[in-house]
């Protein structure tokens, strides 16, 4: 991987984000319901509406609105939330941290569960464990988040017998046990689809690796089976899993919207639904742009990780 390649990739990410800002702006510009009327209520006098429109720059043509918004974004100023009367960057920043904590926990959970699970299935190919994993992974990828979340709530958060709280949030830097209790159900919900995809990917890649020459060589050398599987076969099966994880980040970012709404997790997803319901345009724009940026960057990062894990991959 060359510096030139990295540079070109970053440039293309930038281009993608410019297009995203344009698309988001186009969509929000045609949203019904004038923001000024939304804020002032339907009985506002026309004069008051006109004054506020001027203040919000709604009287300018759309491309001027776009340019002023973009120049604000470049300077880190996303405007004021129409509903919360707070700077968007504050609101979104706090929600972003909360979402990142949730998504991060889900990713850690997925990695420590899905990769060994896939490896075990590959080793016991055609046996009961393998079949169980196949059923689990197919079910996992066919259950929408809202169904998984609801079922988990029924089982683990019933009013009297529940093990976990049904919703809410405590920051890990406030109380770790409290945070863990709140994060388990949403993180498992978010992670289920990813676990399904990744364990299947690891399984199929690893069964291929297990039948390759260097594994046979390792066995012939007399290495014990455990070492062959965990130290030789598994590390060589991980590159495709990383590719799947990065594709799934998009899925994760979509899932976060539903999961946060159900579990009352104060992150970007819940903020977005609130903003959509209240036509809070600056917040909608900022959240969308942020999610797209995270997605684009994670794709880029995964290409880099794959190149490191698998030296045969060369980007020029």
């Amino acid at each position: 991987m060359t510096i030139g390649y990295l540079f070109r990739r970053l440039l293309s990410i930038l281009l993608v984000l410019v297009i995203v800002t344009f698309a988001v702006f186009a969509i929000t510009a045609v949203l019904p319901g004038n923001a000024a009327i939304m804020i002032l209520g339907e009985y506002a006098t026309p004069d008051a509406v006109a004054a506020l429109e001027k203040q919000l720059h709604l009287d300018l043509p759309w491309y001027m609105q776009y340019l002023s918004w973009v120049s604000g974004v470049i300077h880190g100023d996303f405007g004021m939330s129409l509903r919360l009367s707070l700077p968007v960057s504050d609101v979104v920043g706090e929600a972003f941290v909360n979402s990142a904590v949730l998504a991060g926990t889900a990713l850690v959970l997925v990695t420590i569960i899905a990769i060994p699970l896939g490896a075990i299935a590959a080793v016991s190919r055609g046996k009961v464990m393998d079949l169980l994993l196949a059923v689990f992974s197919y079910m996992g990828s066919a259950l929408p988040e809202f169904v998984t979340a609801t079922l988990l709530l029924v089982v683990f958060a019933a009013p009297k017998t529940g093990v976990f709280p049904a919703g809410g949030f405590t920051a890990p830097w406030v109380s770790i046990p409290d945070f863990l209790a709140h994060v388990v159900l949403p993180a498992v919900t978010l992670g289920l689809v990813l676990m399904a995809h990744i364990s299947r990917q690891v399984r199929s890649e690893m069964s291929e690796v297990l039948s390759s020459d260097f594994i046979r060589a390792a066995r012939l050398k007399g290495l014990n089976e455990k070492r062959v599987i965990w130290r030789h076969a598994l590390p060589n099966s991980l590159a495709p899993a990383v590719a799947v994880i990065s594709l799934d980040i998009g899925y994760l970012l979509g899932g976060i919207i539903v999961v946060e709404e159900i579990f009352a997790w104060p992150g970007l997803g819940r903020l977005l639904i609130y903003a959509l319901e209240n036509r809070d345009l600056p917040v909608i724009q900022a959240v969308t742009l942020l999610l797209a940026t995270v997605y684009a960057l994670s794709n880029f990062l995964s290409d880099v990780i794959i190149a490191i894990l698998d030296p045969r991959v060369r980007y020029a």
Binding site: L15, I19, A23, A134, F146, G254, G255, T288
Partner: protein, 272 residues
Amino acid sequence: MPKSFLAPNALVGVFLLLFTLAIAIAGPWLAPYNPQAFDALNRLQGPSMTHLLGTDQFGRDLLSRILNGAPTTVLFGVFATLLGVSIGAVIGVVAGVAGGWVDNAIMRILDGLLAVPELLFTLLIVTVLGGGMGQAMLAVAVAFAPGMARISRSAVLSVRTRDYVRAAVARGESGIYIVVREVLPNALGPIIVESTIRVSFAIMIGATLGFLGLGAQPPSTEWGLMVAEARQFMFRNPWCVAIPGMFIAMSALGFNLFGDALRDSLDPRRSH
């Protein structure tokens, strides 16, 4: 019948798909009760001989509601995908056939649109269009279009330089003839595979929109909406949420497995 359709997961897929399509087409006529009929004495019942899948918070028969909601839920996914594939295929074929700067410009725009997670994209469009079944369908279709355009384009590119296409060009056939008669039929395989798998996503997104109150509206018996309405009572009768949830999963799984089997039959190397 190709061998790959005899693999166990393909058989399960075919079975689930046929079952799903059957209830999506004939469901409302098979329902034993009126799906909207209240029965105050039998509220929130578990499965029994009179109500095979139990009843909801108003004593309405869950089996009848599921069967009535099947067309709404499943056909939503099918038609949203068809619409999305059509839009995407047109864009992809134009890009693939035109090449040059047209192709470049289209691809850059698609890259930008693909950077927005699908559900987020759908939510934005639904907010613009307003809630409701038709709007939700259009939103899912638009959100699917960029991905489908990309796949159609690469399918077109892979056949564009084949000899039979060159022969048609040499014969002096018109551009439209070449695209419709030579390129499209040969590029169709990957597009069909991808669309089949996408139907399962469309069903799940549609149900999610229904659940969030942005898709089907009451008194519809769309399955996602059924889960949303029963949520308040889920601790008293878990069947109310579990049964529509299982039906959503079953129909999504059917399309998913069938799509995988189709892919394997088109490209035996990829089967594992």
